[in-house]
């Protein structure tokens, strides 16, 4: 764990459970908990300190604490996890119901001057349909009161690779083009902090790769980039650091590779189809890596202790039992099941 990046959230075990720089956050702290603010969190360019946000009796974000430093950080979570709410609070567009959101040490919100330092690309697909992409970037540059708005708009359009469509009205854009137009507007004033809410939605693979390269380059220049996604692979390819939100809570945070290990190093279930299911089941139950085997609908439903140890032994078991493997696939690889595991452990 980069100590500048995240502080210990309330309720997290002191050893940073999960090891190797990642932790699953398991504590269900009461909102009135007077837990101290870790110094490294408070010193981060983006700091979220015991933040809660609720609408009536619906809790959208529940006592979340983290800090974000330079580099690309992925905010991962299923739809409805509270990612957009958190993004809006970081952008100063939504006050927290409890706790504090700090941008470079200043409270986010009610301070328009802060938007010289922040660029936001919202998730909602809203746009000034009657403007061209170039006009939208130029408008953003002028509203940002840049000294040379034309040059800034040209640069932003080029950065997001929108030159070919820049003089067409946004109303006629594809979703991927709209995303790039929004990104151009967010980048136009060259902000040191970028908040991107589901920025890859609707982009084709080529656009996605281009955008990832761009964000990597910008992060290498020292910018703080936080992007949200519900797709594990996007986060895997881009983010060095990850925050996992589930049901409004911070389920895990830390270095992506360590988190990935945490996600794979958990009980898994697999489906096996073989030439002799009974012989295969007899061989599997003798293995330490296997917790249980069931014959269900002409296939074996195997519960393994963890992903890697099971996949190492399964071929050997089949060979020793003289069984041919027809099919082997994990049955609980959905992001939701991974999140559920992280929350419940």
């Amino acid at each position: 764990m980069n100590s500048r990046w995240a502080g210990t959230p309330p309720g997290a075990p002191p050893d940073g459970r999960g090891g190797r720089g990642a932790r699953a956050v398991t504590g269900r702290q009461p909102l009135w908990s007077p837990a101290p603010v870790p110094a490294d969190v408070a010193a981060s360019p983006l700091a979220v300190v015991h933040v809660g946000r609720w609408y009536g009796n619906v809790v959208a974000v529940n006592d979340v604490t983290f800090g974000i430093g330079p580099g690309v950080t992925g905010l991962l979570g299923p739809n409805g996890a509270g990612k957009s709410t958190l993004m809006h609070m970081l952008a100063g567009l939504l006050p927290p119901s409890s706790g504090q959101v700090l941008v470079e040490g200043r409270p986010a919100g009610r301070d328009p001057a802060l938007y010289r330092r922040i660029g936001l690309s919202p998730e909602r697909d809203a746009a000034y349909e009657f403007l061209t992409g170039r006009e939208f970037a130029l408008l953003s540059a002028r509203l940002a009161r840049l000294p040379d708005p034309d040059a800034a708009a040209r640069r932003a359009i080029a950065l997001v690779d929108l030159e070919a469509a820049a003089d067409r009205q946004i109303g006629g854009y594809s979703k991927g083009m709209r995303q790039r137009a929004k990104l151009a507007a967010a980048l136009v004033h060259d902000p040191p902090i970028l908040l991107l809410d589901e920025p890859f939605n609707g982009m084709d693979p080529r656009q996605r790769l281009h955008m990832m390269d761009l964000l990597r380059r910008m992060a290498a220049e020292g910018r703080v980039i936080l992007f949200s996604s519900h797709i594990l692979e996007e986060v895997e390819r881009l983010a060095q650091q990850v925050l996992v939100m589930v049901a409004g809570r911070l389920a895990a945070s830390g270095d992506y590779r360590a988190l990935r290990h945490l996600m794979t190093d958990r009980p898994h279930t697999f489906l096996l189809r073989t030439s002799d299911d009974r012989a295969m089941a007899a061989g599997l139950v003798a293995e330490d890596a296997v917790l249980g085997v069931q014959l269900v609908d002409g296939a074996l439903d195997v519960r393994a202790a963890d992903y890697s140890s099971f996949t190492r032994v399964v071929a050997g078991v089949a060979r020793r039992a003289g069984v041919t493997l027809y099919e082997l696939r994990p049955t609980d690889e959905s992001l939701e099941s991974v999140f559920a595991y992280l929350v419940n452990r």
Binding site: Y55, V58, A60, G80, G82, S84, T85, H88, A91, L93, L94, P95, R110, P112, A113, L114, Y115, R116, I118, G119, L120, P122, E123, R124, A126, A127, Y128, F130, L131, L139, S140, R142, L143, A144, R145, L146, P147, P149, A185, G248
Partner: protein
């Protein structure tokens, strides 16, 4: 780019939005009605043109069309952006919230004043023969512009206070302004309709004799300014605390 440049950008953006909305077509159609009615009356040779024109201006233009168009336009200039989510692109810029509100108010007022003002002027010139026409037309234009400012400020504040600004605005206009304000002398002091009539009566020499009761010019200007300023300050305060939320 200085503040003037930012305000100009907001004005241009808002004008393009306002003129491009379908609601604008409705406003333009409504504005044609007084001209059409005046032309029919004139062609039919109805007579008593001064009294009839005063009735047309007071009854149809000031009571009905001015608040209707001001609400339609005023609730769309800012409320439309709140509704479609584009307001975010203004809120994440380092511009004071008052500039956003003032730009929206300027465009809402101008569009309403031009559309309804032009309608009132043309209808007056069509229906009122002789030398009285231009004087009455100027008074109608000025009073409509004054009413456009006050109603627009109310419409903009409503669009930040409720998600049903147009419905609430129409209920206010037709219940308060249309019924309650006309019942008691005291309620006339808190009626935008009366502020508009006060300006019209002061500027048009033919009107005082035709209006049974009206506020004087100073009262109409001061009370109208208080309402417009109050609504604008409220709108600025609401926008400063505006929350962009995606409720779970």
């Amino acid at each position: 780019m200085g503040r003037d440049g930012t305000l100009r950008q907001l004005l241009v953006l808002t004008a393009r939005q306002a003129l491009g909305r379908r609601r604008m077509l409705l406003a333009l159609l409504a504005a044609c009605a007084p001209v059409l009615v005046a032309a029919i009356y004139r062609i039919a040779g109805g007579g008593e043109y001064e009294a009839w024109t005063a009735g047309l201006l007071n009854g149809l233009v000031v009571t009905t069309l001015l608040p209707l168009v001001a609400l339609i336009v005023g609730t769309s200039v800012l409320g439309g952006e709140v509704e479609d989510g584009t307001i975010v692109y203004l809120l994440v810029r380092p511009i004071p919230r008052r500039e956003i509100v003032l730009a929206k108010l300027a465009v809402g007022t101008a569009v309403t004043a031009v559309v309804i003002g032009a309608s009132a002027v043309v209808a007056t010139l069509v229906s009122l023969p002789g030398t009285a026409g231009p004087g009455t037309a100027v008074a109608a234009l000025a009073s409509v512009a004054w009413g456009a400012l006050i109603y627009s400020s109310i419409a903009i504040a409503l669009s930040l206070l409720t998600g049903h600004a147009l419905i609430v605005g129409l209920a206010y206009v037709y219940i308060w302004e249309g019924v309650v304000a006309g019942l008691f002398t005291g309620t006339r002091l808190v009626s935008v309709h009366q502020y508009v009539l006060g300006v019209a009566a002061a500027l048009d020499p033919t009107q005082p004799s035709l209006l049974p009761w009206h506020l004087d010019l100073a009262t109409s200007l001061v009370l109208g300014a208080v309402v417009a300023a109050g609504a604008t300050v409220l709108a600025i305060a609401r926008l400063a605390r505006f929350e962009v939320a995606e409720r779970p």
